[in-house]
C-alpha cells in the first residue's frame, strides 16, 4: 500500500518538481478497547491500516462523516493517542515509539487547532497565559519582557490587539477565540498543524475570516496543514489534496480539483452531490445520489469493502474481498473494485 504513494504529486504547487515528504504515515492502526455486550473484549477500529504521505507546505484535507475516523487519525499522527501499530515518520524520524523526553522537540513541531473554541481554552487562564504556556514549556523566551513582547506579536499576527492579552476567554466571541487557539498553535513555531474542523463551530460570516487567517499563517510561516472537515465546500477552497475517509479507511486520495471533477469512489460521488449548493438554479435541478442507511458500527464493520452496505453498485466480490487502495492514475488513489467503471 505504502509503496504506491508517489514521490511527486501532480498538484505542482511546489515548483521544485520533487516534493519533500514531511510526514509519512505507514500502516497506521488505532484501535480502542471496548467491552461488548457479553463482556468479551472488542475493538473499535477507528483507524485501520492507513498509509499516506503529507508533503511539505501542502494542505491535505480529510473529509468523511462522523465516525469515519478523521479526527482519530489526526490525533494519532500527533501521538495524542498512542497508535496501536504502524508508523508515523516525521522528517525521517519514526516518532511512534519515541519516549517522552525525546518526543518533546517533535511536539514543538506539530500543533493542533481544535474544533470547539469554547471548550479548548481554559476559562481561568488569561489569553497571555494560554499563549504563553506553550512558550514556557519549550523555553522559547529569554526574559519576562521578551515573553510579553512575543505574546503581543503573536496576537497581532492572528488579528487580535495586544490589550486582549490580559482578558479571559469568555470576553471573546467564537471567531476571536479561534484566533486565540491559532495564536497558541503557532507560538512554538511549528512546521505542521492539524486543523480539526476549525470553522465548523463559527457563524457563517466569520468562517471566511478564519480561513483567510489560516491561509495567511501558512504563507507566512511555511506551514503544512492537515485540514479535517466535513464541509466539502471549505475543503475544496483550502486544500491541495483531499483524502476521503470511511469507517477508518481512506477510500480515495487525490489532488482536490481532480476529486471534485472526477470522483472515482461511489462514496465520494455521493458525498459530492450531497453538498448543499448555494445557487438555486443548480440546487433545484441536480440529481442527488441519496445514500441509503447510515455509517455502520465500527465495532462490527461489514466484510470486504466496508462501504458495500450503502453502495448502489455493490456486487458479490465487494462482500468477499477488501478492495486494495491503489493508484488508478497519476496520483489518484482509490480503494474500489470498480474504480473507473462507475
Amino acid at each position: 500500500m505504502t509503496n504506491n504513494e508517489p514521490q511527486t504529486s501532480p498538484s505542482g504547487y511546489n515548483s521544485a518538481g520533487k516534493q519533500n515528504v514531511l510526514i509519512e504515515v505507514k500502516n497506521l492502526k488505532q484501535y480502542f478497547n471496548i467491552r461488548s455486550n457479553l463482556g468479551k473484549k472488542a475493538f473499535v477500529k477507528a483507524v485501520d491500516n492507513v498509509s499516506f504521505n503529507i508533503y511539505k507546505g501542502e494542505t491535505l484535507g480529510l473529509v468523511g462523516e462522523s465516525g469515519s475516523g478523521k479526527t482519530t487519525l489526526g490525533r494519532s499522527i500527533l501521538r495524542i493517542y498512542e497508535p496501536t501499530s504502524g508508523h508515523v515518520i516525521f522528517s525521517g524520524v519514526d516518532i511512534t515509539r519515541l519516549k517522552k523526553g525525546k518526543l518533546l522537540p517533535y511536539r514543538k513541531k506539530m500543533q493542533y487547532i481544535f474544533q470547539d473554541p469554547y471548550a479548548s481554552l481554559d476559562p481561568r487562564m488569561t489569553v497571555s497565559d494560554i499563549v504563553g504556556e506553550a512558550l514556557d514549556i519549550h523555553n522559547l523566551t529569554s526574559s519576562k519582557k521578551d515573553r510579553v513582547e512575543k505574546i503581543r506579536e503573536l496576537l497581532n499576527i492572528v488579528g487580535l490587539n495586544s490589550e486582549h492579552a490580559s482578558r479571559y476567554p469568555h470576553e471573546f466571541s467564537g471567531g476571536q477565540r479561534q484566533r486565540i487557539g491559532i495564536a497558541r498553535a503557532i507560538a512554538v513555531e511549528p512546521e505542521f498543524i492539524v486543523c480539526d474542523e476549525p470553522v465548523s463551530a463559527l457563524d457563517v460570516s466569520i468562517r471566511a475570516q478564519i480561513i483567510n487567517t489560516l491561509e495567511e499563517m501558512q504563507e507566512r510561516l511555511h506551514l503544512t496543514y492537515l485540514f479535517i472537515s466535513h464541509d466539502l465546500g471549505v475543503v475544496r477552497h483550502t486544500c491541495d489534496r483531499v483524502g476521503v475517509m470511511y469507517l477508518g479507511h481512506i477510500v480515495e486520495l487525490v489532488e482536490s480539483e481532480e476529486l471534485y471533477r472526477n470522483p472515482l469512489h461511489p462514496y465520494t460521488q455521493a458525498l459530492l452531490t450531497a453538498i448543499p449548493e448555494p445557487d438555486p438554479e443548480v440546487a433545484k435541478k441536480r440529481n442527488r445520489i441519496i445514500l441509503k442507511g447510515e455509517i455502520p458500527s465500527p465495532v462490527n464493520p461489514p466484510s470486504g469493502c466496508k462501504f458495500r452496505t450503502r453502495c448502489p453498485y455493490a456486487k458479490d466480490i465487494c462482500a468477499k474481498e477488501v478492495p486494495e487502495f491503489k493508484e488508478y492514475k497519476d496520483g489518484h488513489y482509490v480503494a474500489c473494485h470498480f474504480a473507473g467503471k462507475i
Binding site: E65, S66, S173, G175, Q176, D203, V204, S205, I206, R207, A208, Q209, I211, N212, E215, H230, L232, G233, V234, R236, H237, T238, S256, E257, Y260, A270, L271, T273, A274, I275, P276, E277, P278, D279, P280, E281, V282, A283, K284, R288, I290, L291, E294, I295
Partner: protein, 333 residues
C-alpha cells in the same frame, strides 16, 4: 382557502435579563402562503429562531412578545388563551428542532411518543387506530420495520432516524405549517441529504407550508421558494429564492454570498464580512449592520433604514436604496 396562511406584522420579542432588555426580534413583518417553503437565514443571535418560536407560542419568561401581531389562518395567535393555544400548537403548526435527542423523552418508547401526538390531535382514539396510524407515519418518514421500531427507545435510534421520528410526530397532527429549526445541522452531510429529500417529498404529498430556519445558504437555495435574511433581530432583505441569490441587494446578504468558498476562485482569498457578530445588549442606534458594512454612510449610524421595494418583488432595508442615496449599488459589482 385563505391566501395568507401566516401573516406576521411588526412583531417584537424581547428578553428581560438581569443585564438589560435584549431585543431579539425587533419589528419584523412577513406573510407566508399555503404550501410554500420559506427559508429564514441568519447567524446566531439574528432572531431567526425566536421569531418562529413566537408563532408556536414557545416564548417563555424572561422573554415576551412586546408588540405586533401573528395571524395564522385568520386567527390571532398572540391573543389566544392557553387552552386555545394548546389546541393550536401541534395540530395547525408543528415544529422540529435541531437536536432530536433532546426533544425525545429517553424513558418512553418511540411508539408512546408518537401516540401522544395522535391523542393530542384526535382525542379519543382506539389503540388499534393509534397503532395503524403510527405505522403509517413511520412508513411515510422512511423508517424500516415500523412495527418493531415503535417499541424501541430513542437511544436505539441514530441521529438521522431520530430526526425522522421527530418529523413523524410533527406530521401526526397533520399541520398546515411545519417549522423546521436547523433540522439537519446536527447531522452528517449524507444523512442531511436524506432528511431534506424526505421533507421535500412530504411537502409534495401533504401540501403543507414549511418555514425552514438555517444558517446554511446551500440548504435554502435547494429547498426554499422565498427567503428572509435576518440580522440583529430585523429582516434586512426578503424576496424569492432566485432574486435573493441572483441579485442580492443588502450589503449583508451580498457579503454572505461572497464569503462562501467558490469553486471558481480556488487559490484566491475569501472575501469575509469584517468585524464581529453584534451584541444584542448594545444594539447600535441606526442600522444594526452598519458597523460591519463596507458601504456604511453617515445616515446608517443614526437612523434605522426603512424598507424599500424593488421591481422584482424584493424588499430590502437599507439606506442605499433611498432615492436620496448617491451610491445606489453599494460601490461594488
Amino acid at each position: 382557502m385563505n391566501k395568507e396562511l401566516l401573516k406576521i406584522n411588526d412583531l417584537k420579542v424581547s428578553f428581560f435579563t438581569p443585564v438589560g432588555e435584549v431585543q431579539a426580534v425587533n419589528g419584523i413583518s412577513y406573510t407566508l402562503e399555503p404550501g410554500k417553503v420559506l427559508g429564514i437565514v441568519g447567524e446566531s443571535g439574528s432572531g431567526k429562531s425566536v421569531s418562529s418560536y413566537s408563532v408556536m407560542g414557545l416564548i417563555d419568561k424572561p422573554g415576551k412578545i412586546v408588540g405586533g401581531s401573528i395571524i395564522f389562518d385568520g386567527k390571532d395567535v398572540s391573543t389566544m388563551t392557553k387552552a386555545q393555544r394548546r389546541n393550536f400548537a401541534g395540530n395547525e403548526v408543528a415544529m422540529i428542532f435541531q437536536d432530536p435527542m433532546t426533544c425525545l423523552n429517553p424513558v418512553f418508547t418511540i411508539g408512546n411518543q408518537i401516540a401522544e401526538s395522535l391523542i393530542h390531535k384526535y382525542g379519543k382514539i382506539s389503540k388499534k387506530e393509534i397503532k395503524k396510524r403510527s405505522i403509517e407515519l413511520m412508513t411515510l418518514v422512511g423508517i424500516n420495520e415500523p412495527e418493531k421500531r415503535l417499541s424501541q427507545y430513542p437511544h436505539e435510534f441514530s441521529g438521522g432516524m431520530r430526526q425522522r421520528v421527530m418529523i413523524a410526530m410533527a406530521l401526526a397532527g397533520s399541520p398546515k405549517l411545519l417549522i423546521a429549526d436547523e433540522p439537519t445541522t446536527a447531522l452528517d452531510v449524507t444523512i442531511q441529504a436524506q432528511i431534506l429529500e424526505l421533507l421535500k417529498d412530504i411537502q409534495k404529498k401533504t401540501g403543507m407550508a414549511i418555514i425552514l430556519i438555517t444558517h446554511d445558504l446551500g440548504i435554502v437555495a435547494d429547498m426554499a421558494d422565498d427567503v428572509i435574511v435576518m440580522y440583529g433581530g430585523k429582516i434586512v432583505e426578503q424576496g424569492s429564492v432566485y432574486s435573493i441569490f441572483n441579485s442580492p441587494r443588502h450589503p449583508y446578504t451580498k457579503g454572505l454570498l461572497r464569503s462562501l468558498p467558490d469553486l471558481n476562485k480556488k487559490g484566491e482569498k475569501l472575501i469575509p464580512i469584517q468585524g464581529n457578530p453584534i451584541d444584542l445588549l448594545n444594539l447600535p442606534q441606526g442600522c444594526a449592520f452598519a458597523p460591519r458594512c463596507e458601504s456604511c454612510m453617515k445616515v446608517c449610524l443614526k437612523f434605522m433604514p426603512e424598507e424599500y421595494s424593488t421591481e422584482d418583488g424584493h424588499r430590502v432595508s437599507c439606506w442605499l436604496y433611498d432615492s436620496r442615496a448617491i451610491n445606489k449599488h453599494g460601490g461594488e459589482e
